[in-house]
Amino acid sequence: MAQFDTDEIIKVKAGKLSRNYKGYKGTFATLVYNSIHKKALPGLYYEKDLVIDVEHESNTLSVTFSGNRPEKALMDIMDIALENASAFPVEAGKAHFSINVK
């Protein structure tokens, strides 16, 4: 059987909370493009004006959401975005990319 390197692991961090997600290659690029160019994230169309600031440097994306949201709420939003990008929570694995949300 052929061996395929298909996955990328993304670490999502909000303050002290963090969680790893495994998606297909290109998932991080999708999140970067949409947060920078559309100020939007997958599956969150109904959250108007959610993304107010974005910084991107190589393998790290920093996103600031509108409102003063607690860490748990920030993680819940990113959980929706990641799952809607076909990336699912995983326990183990070294992260290739990280997303900081505040």
Partner: protein, 483 residues
């Protein structure tokens, strides 16, 4: 994870938030809207069928990428048996839900992509097949529901894609970036993308040099920013939306066939999900290979499953009014079976005469002639079948009152008196509603156009048939000399 359960699929749908508009409003949760829920429930049944050990041969295949068991909807056919089980899956799924297997177009699209990306990598040294196999492995590992979007809005048919006044009538490239591409445009009559994790987008037809911007094939996630789904809405949608109980409807759980207009507004697709970008020469082959698979499955076997349901309902309608032994009724039922099984036979023949295409790719596609014959036969046959259902079912198929009216203390006793026959009124009205779903529903025109309108099959049959050989045979028998 190799195979998702129906429950796991439904749980995954609860987390998806596609941008869906249906019947005058935005749908935030697909499962809370009666119309969109019917589509999701049909897809859930595709997972449930694969869970049932008695369907294993038909619904479960072995991945050629990993050797693991996978849902057949994500399988690339590697031999005749795979093709045969694929068409049997189309039959089984239609018999089970009485509407679309919404993973069907995606399955046939991925078989076309497996063949055509392999050919492109061989001819052009591209990495499309590698990308496609990686994406497919990911889809198989997570047992994703994958739909397919093929038909562009097309605009003025006299004009080529690049000549259209509105460029968005065809999905096209907006920007080529280092990390991916940006696309926009409109696909129409798309089945089931709203309740699928991913959709495979293919070119809608053959393209020429100079039309590179329209030559695109890619996989996109359900809720990618920039995608809007505008659902079909019709009398059946309204009936479902406003009914008191779905049990009153012709197909209570799975509904009519749900499609949407899929609008792409500057949607980003990373290169890992791009399987063709600009190679116009391969678009015709990609679409033809898709059609080859889809005419055997959607065109042939799937509609045979619908016909089985219609024949069953029609026989019950005949029994409920005591005409099941009348000779002309029996003759019409036999005609329905003849029309239906002829298409099934063509679908089986298309599988059995399938072959590797292109040579060396390892991908098997059905025989073109039999696949087109299956589709063309059922396109016409289906109207005959629903005509006979309406004939035998009687005017009640379209004149029946609401089923719930039987429970009304004022009019219920009148209706029971009016419609009790060889069976109670409730049974008669129930089967009349079921037949209405078919005879006066969306499936007639749907069957006509699904997998391509009959004119496309006529064209393919004219290309694939050796008419000279037939004339020669006739001349030989007649003793006529060759000129």
């Amino acid at each position: 994870m190799a195979l998702k359960t129906a429950k796991e699929y439904l749980d995954s749908m609860k987390k998806l938030s596609p941008h869906v508009y249906c019947g005058g409003k935005w749908v935030k949760n697909l499962l809370n809207n009666k119309v969109t829920r019917s589509m999701v429930m049909a897809n859930a049944e595709m997972y449930a069928l694969a869970e049932d050990p008695k369907n294993k041969e038909v619904m479960v295949a072995t991945s050629h990428l990993t050797g693991e068991p996978i849902n057949r909807n994500l399988n690339v056919a590697r031999n005749i048996h795979d093709l045969d089980m694929r068409q049997e899956m189309a039959l089984l799924t239609s018999q089970t839900v009485g509407t679309c297997n919404y993973r069907c177009v995606g399955c046939d699209a991925l078989n076309s992509l497996a063949a055509t990306t392999w050919e492109m990598d061989r001819d052009l040294g591209t990495k499309y097949n590698e990308n496609f196999n990686k994406w497919l492995k990911y889809a198989q590992d997570n047992d994703l529901a994958v739909s397919g979007a093929i038909t562009d809005a097309k605009g003025d048919r006299k004009k080529r894609p690049s000549e259209q006044q509105e460029p968005d009538t065809f999905v096209h490239l907006v920007e080529k970036r280092q990390d991916g591409i940006v696309v926009r445009g409109i696909k129409v009559s798309q089945s089931g993308a709203i309740g699928s994790h991913e959709t495979l987008v293919l070119p809608g037809g053959a393209l020429r040099e100079g039309e590179e911007a329209f030559a695109l094939a890619f996989a996109v996630q359900n809720s990618a920013p920039g995608i809007t789904y505008i659902c079909q809405y019709n009398a059946y949608s309204a009936e479902r939306e406003f009914c008191e109980e779905e049990s009153e409807l012709g197909n209570p759980i799975y509904g009519q066939r749900e499609t949407s207009t899929m609008v792409f507004e500057n949607v980003f697709i990373p290169w890992e999900r791009v399987f063709l970008c600009g190679e116009t020469k391969y678009c015709g082959r990609m679409v033809t290979r898709f059609a080859k698979a889809h005419r055997m499955n959607c065109g042939g076997a799937c509609k045979v499953g619908f016909a089985d349901l219609i024949i069953g309902g029609t026989m019950l309608a005949a029994e409920y009014i005591g005409v099941e032994k009348v000779p002309h009724i029996q003759e019409k039922i036999i005609d329905m079976v003849r029309l239906s099984e002829t298409s099934h036979a063509c679908a089986i023949a298309a599988a059995m005469r399938g072959r590797e295409e292109p040579k060396g790719s390892g991908v098997f596609l059905p025989d073109d002639l039999f696949g087109n014959a299956a589709k063309l036969n059922i396109a016409h046959g289906f109207w005959e079948i629903i005509k006979n259902a309406g004939d035998i079912g009687g005017g009640l198929v379209v004149t029946a009152p609401k089923l719930k009216d039987l429970e009304n203390p004022e009019v219920g006793p009148m209706l029971k008196k009016a419609f009790a026959s060889a069976a109670p009124a409730e049974k008669r009205l129930k089967v009349a509603k079921f037949l209405q779903h078919w005879a006066a529903g969306l499936h007639g025109a749907g069957t006509w156009h699904g997998a391509g309108a009959p004119q496309t099959q006529r064209f393919m049959i004219s290309v694939l048939t050796n008419f000279d050989a037939k004339k020669k045979m006739a001349k030989k028998i007649m003793g006529m000399k060759e000129e």
